[in-house]
């Protein structure tokens, strides 16, 4: 129980009161005037900068405690400071998606009367990784500690690390085979895991006995608790300097200021109106070992988004028309959806001013009940929510960017994020011990293009603006595989006037193990799960896996024969097939198969981003550079970008400008000759729609969208001038 509450109200009542005040006044906690900011703006700003410095410094310190290459090397961690009611005041860099999910966790404990039982006391440590309470997925484990000042609860310090092993049905953190909650791994559901600043021994034992690689999780716990204590002590010191009354007021004004800044930024950077976009995700598991037939093994999801920006600057995102939750690992809770929104806003609109929960309060998400965005069943799995979150928030980035372009802020337009499929692994390590790990080099995909420049190559993911693939040598210490290749994937950026950023592909030799389970997640099949913008093409994001079992690589190496270090540029015959003997494997979608052993080869490629603008306007000199450096093939340069290349004296590609101009003029003519009026296409396509002449998965997608959404049904029916319900749901009541 609270020793001395901050106000006469208990925390739960205070939270309800805060929400009521927001509802009544439209301002956070009823703060209609920023008195402290107006009194002394310099003091106001300086204090927030100090808080931010506490967070950044605590995170950097904690990363040195962690044993996980995900946290140490790639930075999969974030920390933040909260009000007593659980609203973020200041945060560090890192996986900022979790700043708001942690807020939900704190509020959940308050609303569930944790003050009474298990009680909230100085020195307590609470942990959670339940997405229905407040996180994205099981591996995102968060710890929070209350901050007391002279017996009064004055805030919370919180930290999240993404765990590389969660103890689920398949090894790793993003448990790709989880089809319902009970296979996702070790759940910690808003649990008090420590007292007096010490993690309980029985909790550590539970972790040690339920995880394949407890050293990551347990040391991350210590890292998080250390960062929380560090922030807590800094805040207490600050309060002793500025006084408790000032702290309680200023911490809330920071949030209201953040809310106002977000509204102002929207009015400054965008144009009011309705923005629409969509993307898709395909999942192919038929016949793969381990998948239970609880639903369709192969399916296609549509992810339509309608975004409204009103003249007061509020952004509303509506997911109506999307698909129901399913027996797979890719469902997402509202907490995860909030997190996706928050991290996207911090990158695109909160690049100045106070970054905190205020930004989130200036937006609204409409998440239809029963869909993957807001499941009406809390038993569903969310272990790989990112598979759908990343494509969805890539659409959001394109919608926002449409507004930036319209407003003239072309330098802010960004074609957006893509999925970055992850490898999970476990079995026997190179040291002969049991192990499990997620390989986090995926945290460095290619980004979508900008409206004025190419996208970032191997340097962006949506969930962590501080993208990093990690060093090869560090990863090799943690897994029984050694790299035999890590290189740019040619053409992996979507074509356009500015191309999307390119991705990379890694190739490994499995080494010193007799049992290595390799799985992949967040890997869309058969469709693009990204898009281009303003005439740019989507990036090719449905790559297949290539592996070689029982390879002869050691014999080849002994003879000094050439090896293959990447799949190459022939989609029909890989370089592995050309150069390496053994049993060659090609797998579509999630890689789930028999264990590997030493001598096998495995490759995995990540995704590039979509392009911006008409590819025929691409600077030929840039493309010649792309070809020279392996970002683009000669074939694509010629047939997609219309660039004629010749070789210089040393054999390097040079753009032939005159020939390029001529070729592009011819290509435009070919386009016009080939294109038909859209109205003609609609007339011709209508008969296919009327007959529902589509693949079963496509038909199922339409039937599900129609069942869940009257707006989708109406839009579909009006567009094709058909009765969508009678086509896709024959027998259903009109």
């Amino acid at each position: 129980m609270l020793d001395k509450p901050a106000s006469a109200l208990r925390l739960r009542e205070r939270l309800i009161e805060s929400e009521r005040l927001m509802e009544e006044t439209g301002c956070y906690d009823g703060i209609t005037e920023l008195h402290l900011r107006n009194q002394d703006p310099l003091k106001f700003e300086t204090l927030h900068t100090k808080l931010r410095a506490y967070c950044v410094s605590a995170r950097e310190m904690a990363r040195r405690i962690s044993a996980s290459p995900g946290v140490r090397e790639v930075g999969e961690m974030v920390v933040a400071i909260y009000t007593p009611e659980g609203d973020a005041i200041a945060l560090s860099n890192g996986i900022m998606v979790h700043v708001h999910t942690m807020s939900r966790f704190i509020k959940w404990m308050i609303k569930n009367n944790y003050e009474e039982n298990p009680q909230i006391r100085e020195g307590d440590i609470f942990a959670n990784n339940d997405a229905f309470i407040g996180t994205v997925q099981v591996p995102d484990v968060m710890d929070v500690v209350p901050i007391f000042h002279e017996g009064t609860l004055v805030g919370w310090a919180g930290a999240v690390c993404h765990e590389l092993e969660a103890g689920g049905i398949t090894p790793g953190g993003d448990v790709c085979l989880a089809q319902e909650r009970f296979t996702e791994g070790l759940f910690v559901c808003a649990e008090k895991i420590g007292e007096n600043d010490e993690i309980r021994r029985d909790y550590v034992i539970r972790c040690e006995r339920n995880l394949r690689m407890p050293i990551y999780w347990v040391l991350d716990e210590k890292a998080k608790v250390a960062s929380c204590i560090d922030m807590r002590e800094s805040v207490k010191q600050l309060i002793s300097e500025i006084g408790l009354d000032y702290w309680m007021k200023v911490s809330k004004e920071f949030i209201e200021e953040g809310r106002r800044a977000q509204l102002a930024r929207t009015r400054q950077l965008t144009v009011p109106g309705i923005y629409r976009g969509h993307t898709f995700y395909g999942h192919v598991t038929a016949g793969k070992p381990g998948f239970q037939l609880l639903g369709d093994p192969d399916w296609l999801y549509n992810i339509p988004i309608e975004m409204e920006i009103t003249t007061d600057g509020k952004i509303t995102m509506d997911f109506e028309g999307t698909q129901p939750w399913g027996y797979h690992s890719m469902n997402c809770t509202p907490a995860g959806m909030d997190g996706g929104m928050f991290v996207t806003l911090t990158q695109h609109m909160n690049f100045e001013g106070l970054v905190n929960d205020g930004a989130w309060m200036a937006t609204e998400l409409k998440l239809p009940h029963g869909t993957w965005t807001n499941p009406d069943n809390e038993m569903v799995a969310t272990a790989t929510s990112w598979a759908l979150l990343l494509p969805a928030y890539g659409v959001f980035q394109r919608l926002l960017s449409r507004g930036f372009v319209a407003r003239g802020f072309v330098e802010e337009a960004f074609v957006g994020q893509v999925n970055s499929p992850m490898i999970e692994m476990g079995g026997e390590s190179q040291y002969g011990t049991p192990f499990g790990m997620a390989h986090f080099e995926c945290a460095a995909a290619g980004s979508g293009a900008l409206a004025i420049a190419d996208g970032l190559d191997t340097a962006y993911v949506g969930w962590n603006p501080e993208s990093d693939m990690g060093n090869i040598e560090v990863w090799e210490q943690s897994m029984p595989m050694v790299y035999i290749g890590r290189s740019i994937v040619p053409n992996s950026g979507g074509a356009g006037k500015y191309r999307g950023g390119c991705s990379f592909v890694s190739t490994w030799l499995i080494n010193k193990t007799s049992h290595l389970r390799l799985h992949t997640s967040e890997h869309s099949s058969r469709v693009f799960d990204n898009g281009g913008m303003c005439g740019g093409y989507p990036a090719p994001t449905c790559q297949k896996h290539r592996a070689v079992r029982n390879s002869n690589i050691h014999e080849l190496a002994a003879k000094g024969e050439p090896l293959a270090h990447a799949p190459g540029i022939d989609p029909h015959v890989s370089d592995y097939e050309k150069n390496i003997g053994g049993d060659h494997v090609l797998v579509e979608g999630p890689y789930i198969t028999l264990p590997h052993k030493s001598g096998d080869i495995f490759s995995h490629s990540y995704n590039g981003g979509g392009g911006y603008g008409d590819a025929l306007e691409r600077d030929p000199i840039k493309s010649a550079w792309d070809v020279e450096n392996g970002y683009l093939t000669r074939e694509a340069a010629t047939q997609v970008f219309g660039i004629v290349l010749k070789d210089d004296a040393d054999g390097y590609p040079l753009a032939d400008i005159d020939a390029t101009v001529e070729r592009r003029a011819a290509m435009r003519k070919q386009r016009l000759a080939k294109a038909i009026p859209v109205s003609d296409w609609i007339d011709a396509e209508r008969s296919r729609v009327e007959k529902a002449d589509f693949a079963p998965e496509v038909k199922k997608m339409y039937a599900s969208a129609i069942k869940l959404s009257s707006r989708f049904t109406k839009d579909f029916s009006e567009f094709w001038t058909v009765d969508a319900k009678s086509i896709f749901m024959p027998g259903a009541k009109p």
Binding site: A406, R407, G531, Y537, Q639, P677, F719
Partner: protein, 161 residues
């Protein structure tokens, strides 16, 4: 207040500004006079005289054409009333076979045309590719953007249309 010359903004929009300068613009406080200056940059770029009211894509603009407000291509082609989806008046190439998809993705794994097609929306006059949709077969064409033009000018720019 931050402000840039029309020449600098013209180079920025054309992707010609040196990266360090571009980077400084990205990091600086935003220039509140950007919109009308950028409209002036675009107005200089087009050969036609209709006043541009709003850029909506790389080469598409909503403009005042007599009493009407229309979506116009940089080449001058009109796609009609700006409140209607300009794509419905465009020309289209649909890539829904492996062969057609392979033309754009010669060296990569490609989608299954039974699950996904690419729709290229082209100006019927100049052949500029204005938008590309990646969609499941049968998916309605998206109306990307319906700006609240009146509200934008009246309430945000303080200058009625």
């Amino acid at each position: 207040m931050t402000s840039y010359s029309k020449e600098v903004l013209g180079d920025l929009a054309a992707g010609k500004l040196p990266w360090p300068q571009t980077r400084r613009i990205m990091s600086a406080y935003k220039d509140d006079d950007r919109f009308f200056k950028m409209v002036a940059v675009y107005q200089d770029r087009v050969a036609w005289k209709d006043p541009i009211l709003l850029p909506v894509s790389d080469h598409l603009f909503i403009c005042q054409s007599g009493d009407e407000r229309i979506t116009r291509c940089e080449c001058g082609h009109s796609f009609g009333d700006y409140r209607k989806n300009w794509k419905l008046k465009a020309a289209i190439i649909v890539r829904n076979t492996e062969e057609a998809l392979r033309e754009i993705y010669p060296n990569s794994d490609i989608p299954d045309p039974q699950w996904m097609e690419i729709r290229e929306f082209i100006c019927p006059e100049c052949g500029t590719m204005h938008e590309v949709e990646a969609a499941a077969p049968g998916y309605p064409i998206v109306h990307d953007f319906e700006p609240d033009l009146e509200g934008f000018y009246r309430e945000w720019l303080g200058k009625p249309l």
